[in-house]
Symmetry: C2
DNA sequence: TTTGGTGCTACATAATGTGTAGCATTTTTG
DNA sequence: CAAAAATGCTACACATTATGTAGCACCAAA
């Protein structure tokens, strides 16, 4: 456990810092998905990894497995991705600022 | 590049998914810090890693190095951690829900 | 009954992170 | 002024984590 802490924020940061966790949550934000479709949405990452993360996210109560709909976000998972929405907007501004600063430096 | 995409949100997710990136941003949210203090705040992670991440966050324009104050968040970095604040609140609720569901299962 | 999709595992290889030692430089202190 | 302490940082051997491919057991449709 990297942060050796039981503070919720640290546990959450640990979880989110694992490769593909944020991506998987993000890809499930719109609609549920089958295993293989989720794999495809994440750019064809290995089934090993999908399976591992899906288990972790399930344990973390952010993801659920429904026989009909496949893998989908839990209520908590939904809440999380909603909080993440402003960060989506931020990412576009961030990209603009970054690019224009990079361009300036190249002059 | 895991997500092989130039969409800003994917680039941001890639960055945030790297170990210690979220933690470093979080630890700098209150006040700037020296190299070694930042290292300590992050639970004494290796200087190798701090240095690597600090460079990446600097390139990403989220972190700045000031001769007087040491390492600190840039304006963009500040904006980011503010957007992250609701996620701090979420983490506490998440932890509660998770714990009570875990307790139920153990019955 | 075979074709194609599903969820998933095994395992060798590659990439990433860790931990310790320590160096060169600047700042503090006696 | 000299010794001690703190600074930012690098090197490198080792451990952990992720990747990619192959493929299996299962089910449904053709």
């Amino acid at each position: 456990m990297p942060n050796s802490s039981n503070r919720p924020i640290m546990q959450l940061i640990d979880l989110l810092s694992k490769k593909w966790v944020l991506r998987i949550l993000w890809e499930l934000r719109q609609s549920p998905s089958t295993f293989r479709e989720l794999q495809a949405r994440c750019g064809d990452i290995s089934p090993t990894m999908i399976n591992k993360r899906v288990k972790e996210l399930h344990q973390a109560r952010l993801l659920e497995k429904s026989p009909e709909r496949g893998y989908c976000l839990s209520e908590l998972g939904d809440e999380f991705v909603e909080l993440f929405a402003p960060i989506y907007l931020f990412s576009e501004r961030w990209s603009d600022v970054k690019n224009s600063l990079d361009a300036k430096e190249d002059q």
